[in-house]
């Protein structure tokens, strides 16, 4: 297939040769977290053996090196999404990124925020919580094809200050036209926050082209370690924002009567930072750059098409994803009459790792899809057609044995 040498790529991920329950691991839970290449795993060891020191404040050589790799990582991440380094705030994950905005942005009482029915809880609960402060929250509907209604964004509710939406759904796979929605929202004076946790790992992402004001994503879904994530804040947008956490490293000058805060991004990075994680994220970005995100996108599109093509053979299986105009490498399903957890359990016995349950998108699954959960296979660029063959064959056997007509 184009651009990706799958045999070489798989050698970069040691865990992929692991056996699970007596079978070769087939890791199809990439939307939950990705596996890590040796470049990242060994990089962390290198960091602790050669660089480790508290960055930013100390001036000795090791600390300078630590500061340097931290700043380099910020630059790499910025370049990766076509942003400026000072627009990149390091956080723990997308959840923390969105919470930061909800706490630090100066929302006023009459303001309204739009979220959607297809959000992960991380882009829903921070906004629902603001209701307690008298801020209105509107929820954009999702159509039968799991699309957002573009007409909703043409006429946003009055006083909408922020439009928060996911770029790609972690359940239906829907890829939203965030560029058009950003354009429409800006026309009406609203800012736009894009949850890109499910998109940035899988496709080229140009924040200037999309023109989002905030973008949140997690490192661990894109080859980096856990505990490092990113909040992009467009330059001028951060001017009026308040600090999120306070403490060390986010100040210029402190006396008991007066505090002068640091500039963004340091303003939002209180306390000793996860330098190891940032360094690892930098290495992950380098790895993805070497593959080429266009190649990743193309290869995953081929895999996804193949999966949906083979899925036509399935009997006693309902499929919930892949109905929208554009969708990513997510396949949500149930064996009819079987709880998703039990389906996942039976697949796991064959070494196939899938997610099951609500996927942290309970309103979508319960209210909109009317389900008590779904199983989900999600692909990444190191997966293969052979793995898809095994998955479909095993799923078919399970559905034949346990599924209801």
């Amino acid at each position: 297939m184009t651009g990706i040498n799958i045999e070489n790529v798989r050698k970069d991920f040691p865990i992929l040769s692991k056996q699970v329950n007596g079978n070769n691991l087939i890791y199809f839970d990439n939307a939950a977290t990705s596996q890590k290449p040796s470049a990242v795993i060994e990089g962390l060891k290198y960091f602790y053996e050669n660089i480790n020191a508290n960055p930013i404040r100390s001036i000795h050589s090791l600390a300078e090196e630590s500061t340097k790799v931290y700043n380099d990582a910020r630059k790499k991440v910025a370049d990766f999404i076509n942003a400026e380094p000072e627009e990149i705030v390091f956080v723990r994950n997308a959840t923390e990124a969105i919470n930061l905005v909800s706490f630090s942005f100066p929302f006023k009482k009459e303001d309204r925020i739009s979220s959607t029915y297809m959000e992960h809880h991380s882009n829903l609960l921070p906004w629902l919580r603001l209701k307690e402060r008298g801020i209105g929250v509107d929820i954009a509907q999702v159509s039968e094809d799991y699309e957002l209604d573009i007409n909703y964004y043409r006429r946003l509710p009055k006083n909408t200050r922020l439009v928060a939406l996911t770029h790609a759904s972690n359940v239906t796979g829907t890829i939203n036209d965030v560029k058009e929605i950003a354009r429409l929202s800006h026309e009406q004076g609203a800012l736009v926050l894009v949850d890109a946790a499910q998109s940035i790992p899988h496709m080229p992402f140009d924040v200037k082209d999309i023109d989002a004001d905030f973008v949140a994503f997690s490192g661990h879904k894109m080859l980096a370690p856990f505990g490092i994530g990113v909040l992009y804040i467009k330059k001028d947008t951060s001017k009026n924002m308040q600090p999120f956490l306070t403490g060390g490293e986010m100040i210029k000058d402190v006396s008991l009567s007066r505090i002068i805060y640091e500039n963004v991004p340091n303003l939002f990075e209180a306390g000793t930072q996860n330098v190891e994680g940032a360094y690892g994220l930098g290495l992950a970005v380098e790895y993805l750059n070497n593959l080429g995100m266009e190649n990743v996108e193309k290869y995953e599109a081929e895999l996804t098409n193949y999966l949906y093509e083979r899925a036509k053979e399935l009997k006693n299986v309902e499929i919930y994803s892949g109905k929208s105009k554009r969708f990513n490498s997510i396949f949500s399903f149930n064996v009819t009459g079987l709880h998703s957890h039990d389906t996942a359990y039976l697949l796991d016995k064959k070494g196939i790792a899938v997610r099951s349950g609500f996927h942290c998108a309970q309103p979508l699954i319960e209210d909109r899809l009317k389900l008590d959960g779904a199983a989900r296979a999600s692909l990444y660029f190191y997966n293969t057609k052979e793995e898809i063959n095994t998955f479909i064959d095993e799923l078919n056997k399970i559905a034949a044995k346990y599924g209801r007509q």
Binding site: H339, S340, H341, D342, F358, Y402
Partner: protein
């Protein structure tokens, strides 16, 4: 778990005994297992500390549904306070499974925890 054991549990899950709200009950309690998204209610009719009747309704996976069904079955005719000394291994015994995996512990104990809360309430009422 052996395949045929699991198959047997799926059969019980499809037509669970003690399913549906009791027409007469004096205690009810909800139970959740967030990873599966299990949501259940347990209903008990308790007289002088004895469980006269027990039932449950709601939705969940094979393990949680069958464990609730088996627990209701077990409780009928027993003293409610017996629940207090019960733990995961008793639920495993009721299910006929050894060593339930860590991600399914909550499924096996969702009913147990709910009935323990009922016992606590009933003890406070006394």
């Amino acid at each position: 778990m052996e395949d045929n054991k699991f198959y047997e549990l799926v059969e019980l899950y499809r037509n669970p005994e003690h399913y549906g709200k009791l027409s007469k009950y004096n205690y009810s309690e909800e139970g959740y297992s967030p990873s599966c998204g299990d949501k259940f209610s347990v209903y008990l009719d308790v007289e002088n500390g004895i469980v006269k009747n027990a039932s449950f309704d709601g939705k969940g996976c094979v393990i949680s549904t069958v464990s609730l069904s088996k627990l209701c079955e077990f409780l009928v005719g027993k003293r409610l306070e017996e629940i207090n000394s019960m733990e995961l291994k008793d639920m495993e015994k009721l299910l006929g499974i050894n060593g339930i995996s860590i991600s399914r512990v909550k499924c096996a104990t969702v009913g147990l925890d709910a009935v323990k809360r009922i016992y606590k309430k009933s003890a406070e009422n006394d």
